[in-house]
């Protein structure tokens, strides 16, 4: 057993435990005196369960895991189709399976499975033998589940697949013309999405992001209250469980999307520095893993994982500060939620396994 625990990378583990502690405190404060007063406990159960899964994966040879990536990817696609058919509709979106009273969101895990499969597919051969056509096919493999997810609809989740594509510049390098092409793609894609793909409420979010004061009572309300919470926290914060915005319920959805605002209000800028510093160390260590990885596939996976974590960090932390559009993207270890928590731990478990095995060999 002791051997097994040795598989957990200590530098990653400490950062992780610190972030979990911060997140649990935040959820305790956010749920206080509301119907969700037990949410910190429930989230702690998810965390424990996640750490167990992490331990399991960390002790497994990563190569064995990569071998199962293709069937897992197919299974994931089936799940995404199935959720559109038999999923539970909550708040106008069909994103969840309901199993034994627990909701489960297949797209959370699918993100990591897609990354796993793509890393495996592109990393199993020398990079210069991978042709352009194959690269286009790889992009298709990412875009296809994204489209299925956008059917739910869940734009935030769909966008969180994009960092997977970071694998391509990692293996092929990035030329100036590629950057230009990418910018063009984003421009045209953005215009096309605005015209054809985005739902009205999604468009409205973008519009309100551009001018939050236009709708203080409606959609802009959430971000506005979040900014007030963050700004009023000041340097040292209002104190644990003493944030007026949080405790008087001015702050909306404070146990999920806006959990970081709770931390920022009650712990202030110093608390924010601490949390962002920890996230920085986490990403740093994941990139260490990419560097140490034995195979290209493992390196790609770690780099992609760093990208996904970064995107979550950027979009959530930026969104609650009003610096980015109000997009439903959770913040790892802060936002409550079973599927996302388990997925993050699974990913970290694999990364730890990669680190462990790079040392062992």
């Amino acid at each position: 057993m002791k051997e097994r625990f040795r598989a957990l990378d200590p530098r990653l583990l400490w950062v992780l435990l610190a972030l979990i502690a911060l997140g649990t405190l935040t959820l305790y404060s956010a749920g206080r005196n509301t119907a969700q007063s037990g949410i910190w406990l429930k989230q702690s159960l998810w965390n424990l369960m996640g750490m167990f899964l992490m331990l399991l994966l960390a002790t497994t040879d990563p190569r064995r895991i990569f071998r199962y990536s293709f069937p897992a990817y197919l299974l994931g696609l089936v799940a995404l189709v199935a959720v559109l058919v038999v999923g539970r509709k909550i708040g106008g979106a069909t994103r969840w399976f309901v199993v034994a009273g627990q909701t489960f969101q297949p797209s959370e895990l699918m993100k990591w499975v897609t990354l796993l499969y793509l890393s495996h597919r592109l990393g199993s051969r020398p990079p210069d033998t991978v042709g352009r056509l194959e690269l286009v096919g790889a992009v298709g493999l990412v875009v296809f589940p994204m489209l299925l997810i956008q059917r739910q609809p869940d734009l935030g989740m769909a966008l969180s697949f994009l960092p997977i594509l970071l694998i391509i510049p990692l293996m092929k390098g990035l030329r100036a013309r590629w950057v230009v092409a990418l910018l063009l793609l984003v421009g045209v894609g953005g215009f096309g999405a605005w015209k054809f793909a985005l739902k009205p409420y999604q468009k409205q979010r973008v519009l309100i992001f551009l001018d939050p004061s236009s709708d203080l009572q409606g959609k802009g309300y959430q971000v506005n209250q979040s900014r007030i919470a963050i700004g009023s926290g000041g340097l040292i914060g209002k104190g644990f469980t003493s944030g007026s915005q949080t405790q008087l319920n001015f702050l909306p959805v404070k146990t999920t999307d806006f959990a970081f605002s709770v931390w920022a209000e009650e712990r202030g800028f110093l608390g924010v520095l601490l949390a962002l510093g920890l996230f920085g160390l986490l990403l740093n260590r994941i990139l260490d893993a990419a560097r140490a990885a034995h195979t290209n596939a493992q390196a790609y996976f770690c780099a992609g994982a760093a990208g996904i974590f970064s995107l979550h960090l950027l979009v959530n932390v930026g969104m609650v500060a009003g610096a980015l559009p109000n997009k439903g993207m959770v913040l790892p270890f802060f936002s409550a939620g079973g599927s996302s928590t388990l997925s993050f731990f699974l990913a970290l478990g694999l990364i730890m396994g990669i680190l462990h095995h790079s040392r062992v060999k």
Binding site: G231, G234, G280, A299, S310
Partner: protein
């Protein structure tokens, strides 16, 4: 791994690492901007939405009758309100809100606009006096519009319902013209008296609002109180009204339209003032529905909004003969002994003027003429008097002015004169002598308010004292619950000749107690009531048969005015019953009931205090039947 690949991959991963830390740094900058640079701005915003200063409405003073029985009480009530700082801006929100509360969207939008312009002050009240259904509705609507709040505030309860509706009046929200007239005194959303004594006594009854600084949550619910200045309740006060006598008046008038006034002869205090049909002030307490009630009541044919004792103008009929007699005696045209012959009718200026008794009264002296209400006798007096003489006498005895009662919108009694006709009828400004003949029996252009007439009979009862009728009796000492009497307005002396007075008094005595008196059926055994009947024509008829076929609205108004007891008068009264026929048969019996109660029954059988509908949302309440 391919060793050639390694350095390349590492270099690219190095770029990733830089980008990652750059991202973290970017977020740090964003948060430093919000939390350090703009901290004070957001701190203020956070405080502004969590810490609120709310007014604490002061309860108005209670209104009691002269015996301390409550006529107007306060109850705690729940109101659905929007606090000033939470007023919605978007039209869709306002419209949807109005619909879910079944209010007029345009009116609500206008109201919200005016509240927003007015800045600080009372919250906007959407629904007042919520009952259990109202509370359920409010909670439902509040779930969708969290800026609504439910507030506990005192409300008025008029305990007698319709007992003294016109006297008490009702309260409502201050309107724009009033606020413009006295901007320092009234604030938007404030409750003030709108009618009756609530209006005229508003400054006495209203308290001083307090305020509190509270911490609220997102739903506007009070979480903590940082301190408050308590509201000072308005002072409770006594009215001169006697609830028991008022009830007798109400019951005696029954369903008839008309007016009853009883004055206290010591100081002019109004003991009873009832206007039929009455209204229930409790119906006016809902602000936004008030316009509808107003419109309905104002359009009602029986005109229940008119306070007949001070706003109804009636031809006084024979009750006016006392003034004509007074004018004639003062002028010396006749003496009390002068005999005049009544043949049932008499011709003046080529026109026959009929007496009520078609067979004629024969030869009459003044006392007999008053007792039997002979018209010919007073035609004759009028023919020897000038209209301006009658006007001058009326003016001397205060009949041409407003009585000055402490109620709003009192009308002035109309006693014609040449000057009056020039002004009132510019098309035909000349005064015709024939018109004076009609005035002699209280017809024609004469119009009195029942209260004005009562004041004149009070003057007769007090041998010439001109009283000012009033309702304000005194303040209540809230500790001892006792009356702090307010000084009554002082009476004026009119130098009424005691010899002339005794003739008039004699005549009034004979009307009720004489063998031929018109109101002898209403005489009381144990107390000497005196008075004069009156029957005021509403329309002209060919003969009695024709009259009896007419619709009720064309029938004569019945009047009775007098005082009691004769030996040492204590009360004066006027009864008017619209379209009821003869004063002797319709009005005098009501006066008899008043006197009977006041002097004989009251000490033995005081009536119970008024009991109105008690709407108290805090008390369990039986379900009302659907209408």
């Amino acid at each position: 791994m391919d060793p050639r690949q390694r350095p390349l991959l590492r270099r690219r991963l190095g770029v990733f690492r830089v980008l990652t830390w750059g991202l973290v740094a970017l977020l740090v900058v964003v948060y430093a901007w919000l939390q350090l640079v703009r901290h004070s701005e957001f701190k203020l915003l956070a405080m502004q939405q969590a810490v609120k200063v709310r007014p604490i409405p002061a309860p108005r003073g209670l209104v009691l009758d002269r015996n301390g029985q409550r006529l107007v009480d306060n109850r705690r009530a729940l109101h659905l309100v929007i606090q000033r700082e939470d007023l919605p801006t978007r039209t869709e929100v306002v419209t949807a809100l109005a619909e879910s509360l079944s209010l007029d969207p345009a009116a609500l939008a206008k109201k919200i606009q005016s509240y927003r312009l007015a800045g600080k002050g009372h919250p906007l009240v959407l629904k007042e006096n919520l009952d259990e259904f109202g509370i359920a509705l409010a909670e439902r609507v509040r779930a969708r519009y969290p800026f609504l709040s439910v507030e506990v505030a005192p409300r008025r309860v008029y305990l007698g319902d319709e007992l003294a509706g016109h006297v008490l009046g009702y309260v409502g929200e201050v309107d724009e013209p009033m606020m413009k007239a006295k901007p320092d005194l009234y604030h938007l959303g404030e409750t003030i008296g709108k009618e009756g004594f609530e209006a005229s006594g508003n400054d006495k009854l209203k308290g001083v609002d307090g305020q509190k600084r509270i911490l609220v949550d997102q739903l506007g619910t009070e979480v903590a109180n940082f301190g408050q200045v308590d509201a000072a309740a308005g002072r409770s006060l006594f009215l001169t009204l006697d609830a028991g006598l008022q009830q007798v008046a109400q019951e005696a008038l029954g369903q008839e339209a008309g007016a009853v006034v009883v004055l206290d002869l010591r100081d002019g205090g109004v003991l009873a003032m009832y206007s039929g049909p009455s209204y229930d002030p409790n119906l006016f307490l809902n602000r936004l529905s008030q316009d509808m009630v107003d419109r309905y009541l104002a359009n009602n044919l029986t005109r229940p909004m008119v306070n007949r004792p001070i706003q109804g103008i009636y031809a006084p009929g024979s009750t006016f003969k006392l003034l004509v007699a007074l004018a004639a005696l003062e002028k010396g045209i006749v003496t009390p002994q002068t005999q005049i012959y009544c043949a049932g009718k008499k011709n003046y200026y080529g026109r026959d003027f009929r007496c009520d008794k078609l067979t004629g009264h024969g030869v009459l002296s003044m006392v007999q003429a008053i007792a039997q209400s002979c018209d010919v006798y007073f035609y004759e007096l009028a023919s020897r008097l000038d209209i301006d003489d009658i006007h001058a006498t009326a003016e001397k005895y205060g009949l041409t002015e407003r009585t000055g009662i402490d109620l709003p919108q009192e009308k002035r009694t109309r006693i014609p004169s040449r000057a009056w006709k020039r002004k009132a009828v510019p098309k035909d400004p000349k005064w015709y002598a024939g018109e004076t003949i009609s005035v002699g029996i209280g017809q024609g252009a004469v119009g009195v308010t029942p209260l004005g007439l009562a004041r004149f009979y009070a003057l007769l009862a007090t041998k010439g004292k001109l009283l000012t009728p009033h309702l304000f009796y005194g303040f209540r000492d809230d500790q001892s619950n006792s009356l702090e009497l307010a000084p009554a307005p002082p009476p004026k002396d009119t130098a009424l000749d005691p010899r002339i007075w005794s003739i008039l008094d004699e005549g009034l005595y004979e009307v009720v107690n004489g063998p031929h008196g018109t109101a002898r059926a209403s005489a009381l055994k144990d107390i000497t009531m005196v008075g004069k009947t009156g029957t005021a024509q509403v329309a002209t008829f060919v003969d009695r048969a024709h009259y009896s076929r007419q619709a009720k609205s064309l029938k004569d108004h019945a009047l009775f005015a007098g005082y009691a007891p004769r030996e040492k008068p204590q009360i004066a009264f006027v009864v008017v019953v619209e379209n009821a026929g003869f004063g002797a048969t319709s009005a005098a019996p009501i006066a008899q009931k008043l006197v009977q109660y006041w002097f004989l029954d009251r000490p033995l059988r005081p009536l119970p205090p008024p009991r109105g509908r008690m709407v108290d949302p805090f008390a369990p309440q039986p379900r009302e039947e659907a209408e």
